[in-house]
């Protein structure tokens, strides 16, 4: 049984009359990479801010490494590293001095730790530059560097790939995966870029308007998400009629580009192309796909419940 690193129970946060989080129950175990998904205003940052102690919950409780009393929470936050919203640093100090400042603050012995982090996040060459003069992507790296100081057991990352260029995104993804695999660092990460989350998260939490709609592991998502077959043919109406005639319970839809999408096809793709050719219908495209995170999320949002 893996240790619970984060556990929230009926976590609620109100800003005046606005409910930012409502009865959110989230459990994250050691070694998980938890992808927090939701639109703007869904409550992702609010959850992460409560987790990092920047704001206080209006109700419910949050546990960090099994502690929930305020003093214990503060103590256990020393085992975490975080970037919330934008990375925080002193713009007039150099990159190296910013890291040195936080190294001293965290009580980490050994100046060589700064050098190691600078190399890990790819800022060694820029170490003498003033932090305020860095590009947005470099600032994100610096933020990650600050979070990584002290070898945290838990990384809390709010939109960490904002502003990164494509190679930066790939580097960040590989770095997070490496930290997770090699050091068993637990990560909670929010991002708007679902395709990125899909490549690293082992469990997902879907937030909408302050409610946690669903928590699902990557394996469950894979199992639950529908396989579908896209067929583009020369006579879509005729082909649709043939499909209904041949398989009465078939579930399909005609997409705007006239492609016919068959959901959870019971037959192999060949059976459908054969049906088309036997009836003189030309097959232009045939592709079998599996619905993934983006579509799952959109479905969840639309229906307000899990349905793939």
């Amino acid at each position: 049984m893996r240790e619970c690193v984060i556990e929230s129970r009926s976590l609620t946060k109100k800003f005046g009359d606005v409910v930012a989080l409502k009865d959110v129950d989230i459990t994250i175990k050691r070694g998980d990479i938890y992808g927090l998904i939701g639109d703007n205003g869904a409550g992702k940052t609010t959850f992460l801010k409560i987790l990092t102690g920047q704001i206080y919950p209006s109700g419910g409780e949050i546990r960090l490494f099994d502690a929930y009393a305020e003093r214990e929470l503060e103590k256990n936050r020393k085992r975490t590293g975080a970037i919330i919203e934008t990375p925080g640093f002193y713009p007039k100090l150099s990159v190296e001095k910013n890291l040195e400042y936080y190294r001293i603050q965290k009580g980490i012995p050994g100046k060589e730790k700064v050098e190691a982090v600078l190399k890990t996040v790819g800022l060694w060459e820029k170490r003498k530059r003033k932090a305020g003069t860095l590009s947005l992507g470099m600032k994100q790296r610096l933020g990650l560097g600050i979070a990584l100081l002290g070898e945290p057991e838990l990384l809390i990352l709010d939109e960490p790939i904002n502003g990164l260029d494509p190679s930066g995104i790939i580097e960040m993804r590989n770095l997070l995966l490496r930290l997770n695999h090699e050091k068993n660092i637990t990560i909670i990460i929010s991002s708007h870029i679902l395709s990125e989350l899909e490549q690293i998260a082992t469990i997902y939490g879907f937030l909408s308007q302050g409610w946690l709609l669903k928590e699902i592991t990557a394996e469950e998502l894979h199992e639950q998400c529908a396989v579908y077959l896209d067929i583009a043919v020369t006579q879509p109406e005729h082909f649709a009629a043939l499909l209904e005639k041949r398989w009465k319970d078939i579930q399909y839809q005609v997409l705007p580009d006239s492609t016919i999408r068959i959901k959870n096809p019971e037959m192999a793709p060949d059976a459908y192309s054969t049906l088309a050719s036997e009836n003189g219908i030309g097959v232009l495209k045939l592709a079998q796909k599996q619905m993934m995170l983006e579509e799952y999320y959109m479905n969840l949002k639309e229906k307000g419940r899990l349905s793939c």
Binding site: T52, G53, Q54, E74, K78, A82, F89, Y101, Y102, Q105
Partner: protein, 258 residues
């Protein structure tokens, strides 16, 4: 909290703010004495090129210590909200009370050291280039600074408290001005009508420095020359430190960093 104080000392000593501030004020103080010297040299019967005048001007303007402390502390902790650096520190599990206390300590140390340097330049240039003996001993002069130091620290604590609680720094500085300058004036005038406010007004630094300190070319009569006067300055400053610390402690203890 020790690590937090160490990190803040590292930041302050590696930033330019404290050096710029101290350098500018030290140069200005030397320039002021230099101007007095030039007038004394080139203007017949110019009476103010004397050590006594220069140092009495400083003695009669002890509120300068409060303003200097506020300005330097303001420079040192400005943009903390904007830079997002407080978020990092809180995320790392350092409590808001530790942050506030640490900042008060570091800003007080920096302000004190800065004041020492400025005073060395001020007194040094006055004794070096101005004329005449100073009837007041250096020890008496230093006693004046010592008497007002607690209130100078209180001023630093107040600006740290206000800037921790209020994101907009200009508003924090205006509030500081109100509390240190205008509130004593208002209390003084209200004290003329309301009896019980009168002693309160008398214990406010701005008021006693204006009413009970006379230091000019012909007079030198200062509050801290008597034990009672010295005690009044020290007690008033210590009360200020406690009250302003409590304001910061209460206001920042549960402050949400949104």
């Amino acid at each position: 909290m020790l690590n937090y104080i160490k990190s803040e000392l590292y930041r302050v000593s590696h930033g330019k703010e404290v050096y710029l501030f101290t350098g500018i004020l030290a140069v200005l103080s030397v320039l002021m004495n230099g101007v007095l010297y030039l007038f004394h040299t080139f203007t017949p019967d110019f009476p103010y090129g004397a050590i006594r005048f220069s140092l009495n001007t400083l003695t009669s303007s002890m509120e300068f210590l409060f303003f200097a402390g506020m300005l330097l502390a303001g420079f040192l902790i400005s943009d903390e909200h904007k830079n997002g650096t407080l978020k990092n520190t809180v995320s790392f599990g350092i409590t808001r009370v530790q942050i506030f206390t640490g900042k008060c300590i570091v800003c007080s140390i920096a302000s004190f050291l800065s004041m020492l340097v400025i005073m060395i330049f001020y007194y040094g240039s006055a004794y070096l280039i101005l004329t005449g003996p100073d009837e007041v001993t250096l020890m008496d002069r230093l006693r004046g600074i010592a008497a007002n130091l607690p209130m100078a620290f209180a001023s630093v604590i107040l600006i740290v408290a206000l800037m921790s609680m209020i994101k907009r720094e200009m508003i924090a500085m205006m509030l500081w001005m109100f509390i240190i300058v205008f509130l004593p004036i208002i209390t003084f005038f209200l004290g003329l009508k309301i009896d019980w406010l009168n002693p309160v007004a008398e214990w406010m630094p701005r008021n006693y420095l204006n009413m009970e300190v006379i230091a000019n070319m012909s007079h030198y009569q200062v509050l801290w020359d008597t034990p009672e006067g010295m005690a009044k300055c020290l007690i008033s400053g210590i009360i200020g430190m406690i009250v302003f610390y409590m304001i910061g402690w209460i206001g920042f203890r549960k402050k949400e960093l949104v």
